[in-house]
Structures are given as structure tokens and as C-alpha cells.
């Protein structure tokens, strides 16, 4: 019965130490590569334009971001919801 007590009182949120680490990692990725939000938006628009030749994407929902993948490594991660393929793209 006493074993249950800590569980009852434990807060169900993530430890703020971990939140701080995660926020720092993300902030530092952008600081270190020195990319402006304008550059990221330009990249996003260009990707939508290029992909639109092949498929119909939900432009509002396209998200492009940099994420840390290691101590000194960064990956460009894009989430691009596709509505449908374009007919002429399928024919080729």
C-alpha cells in the first residue's frame, strides 16, 4: 500500500530539465547553422513549387525544419501532405 504513495503524488508532466534540454537543442541547431527564418521560408516555397510539378500537395501544411541528429550533425526534415498525384506526372 505504501508503495502506491509515490505514484499518487508523482506529477504526470515531463521533467522541466528535459524540456529545457530539448528546447536548447532545437534553438542551437538554428543558431549554429545560422539560417534565417526568411531563408527557411524561401526553401519551403521552392520545395512546394518543385513538388507541385508531380503531385498536388497541401501547401498550408508543408513543414520544413532542421533537427539535430547527433553532436554536430543536422538533418533537414520536411513533412509534405500529398492530396493526389498529377495525371501528367503518372503518364510519363
Amino acid at each position: 500500500m505504501f508503495a502506491l504513495l509515490p505514484k499518487l503524488f508523482r506529477r504526470e508532466k515531463t521533467r522541466s530539465r528535459d524540456i529545457a534540454m530539448e528546447r536548447l537543442r532545437l534553438a542551437l541547431v538554428h543558431d549554429r547553422v545560422n539560417v534565417s527564418p526568411q531563408t527557411m521560408e524561401g526553401l519551403r516555397q521552392d520545395m512546394i513549387y518543385a513538388i507541385s510539378n508531380y503531385m498536388d500537395v497541401d501547401a498550408q501544411e508543408v513543414a520544413v525544419k532542421l533537427t539535430p541528429t547527433g553532436a554536430a550533425q543536422v538533418a533537414l526534415v520536411a513533412s509534405i501532405p500529398v492530396n493526389r498525384m498529377k495525371k501528367d506526372a503518372l503518364r510519363d
Binding site: R17, D18, A20, L28, R32
Partner: protein, 267 residues
Amino acid sequence: MGEVIVITSGKGGVGKTTATANLGIGLALLGKKVVLIDTDIGLRNLDVIVGLENRIVYDLVDVVEGNCRMKQALIRDKRYESLYLLPAAQTKDKTAVSPDQMQRLCKELAQDFDFVLIDCPAGIEQGFRNAIAGADSAIVVTTPEVAAVRDADRIIGLLEAEGKSRPRLIVNRIRPQMVKAGDMMAADDVKDILGVELLGVVPEDEYIVIATNRGEPVVATPTSAAGRAFRDIVRRMAGEDVPIMPLDADDGGFFGKLRRMFNAKEG
């Protein structure tokens, strides 16, 4: 030739000046000949922290402009035989000194002193450029907070771009209980994120407030936890192999407290 070390942080209020004062006095207590330079022109503070504010006649800008000789501007601390202070000017601004002039000044001082410690102003503008110009290496001070660590990362990038490679890190104002509860980043977390060598960890200590009020930095106070941490750091700076003690949140109960009381009396 002595070592010229800049103490910097990017963000203000993390304990740069307090650290500079404590490291300087700590090294002097080890018998090293030390000079502290305050480069925060217009906002000088190091003199107050060390408790020498009443003895300033000439300052850094006077030396650079040739209004006095170096010897006239250096204030010798009567409490610690081998400690000197070169104060910042209070009525000028950062443009009164150039990086070239700082380089020459540091080179001159390194002839006479074992350690030349430069207290850097907050920010990344000219005051920062001046402070790092003459330094051989850097100590970066930060606290375990997102904003301070982020600024420290910027500073480390700028230092490396200026060829001040391998800066060493002091994580200041750690609260062991909060780290244990998962509500504060640990010194190792900060070290891993910044990817630099950890020089020391200084716990939050109310005694710092008292020491600052008195103008007598904590490094000379045997019972202060922060003082103990600074004493370990200066021994590392002097080349001794001193392990970084884990700051234990658990005080060991009644017997732990009793044991420490006796240890403090012995020490």
C-alpha cells in the same frame, strides 16, 4: 610568460565578475602572481566585488592612452600579497580601447604575472572583442538555464572563430536538489550540449551575497560550498589533477551534517 585567460559568458548576470574575482584570489592564495583586468569600460564592477573600489587612481584607459605608467594604475590588494587589479574606466565607453591595444597590454602584463585574468563585459560587441583580443585561452561561465547556455554556445562559436580554441566551462549556480528532482539541467547536461571541457561546477550559495556585500570573495571562506568549488577550480587551473566532486543533494542525514561540521572545523 604567464597565461592570459579571458572570463566570458555572452549573457549578463551569470557570475562572470564574481568568478573572475574568486579565481584571481584563489590563484593568489596558491602563491601565484595574478592581475585582474576589468574590461567593462563604463560599467566597472570588478573593483567592487574584490573590495578595492576606494583605491582607484588610474585605470585601463589611462594606461592605454599613456596618462600613467602601468605600475601606477595597478592596485595591489593588501589582503592577498600577489593579487593586483587594473580597473576599467567609468567615464569612457568601449571605443576608448582597441583590440590591438589590449593585445599589447596583455603581452606586457604576461611578462610579470603568472596569470592575467580578463573580466569580459556581457554581449558580443566591441567590449567583447577587446576583452578576448589579448587572451591565450578562455573560460566560459554559464548557469543551467536555456538563455544562458544558448548565449554561451554563441560565445564559444565566436571564440573558436577568433582562434581561441578549446574554451573551458564553469557551470555556476547549480542547485543540486533541483537537479535531483529533474527541474534543473545538470552541469554534465550543459557540458554535453556545448561540447566543451568542464573546468568546474559552482553550487548556488547564499554566502556569495554576503561576500559580495563585504567585498571579500567566497574563495577564502572555508565553510562556503561555492568557495570550495572555486578552490578546486583554481587548483585545476594551476595544473593539479582535482576530480570534479558530484554535488550531492542528499546531505547524509544527521551524521552527514555532523561529519561536515567537524570537517569544516578541521579545514
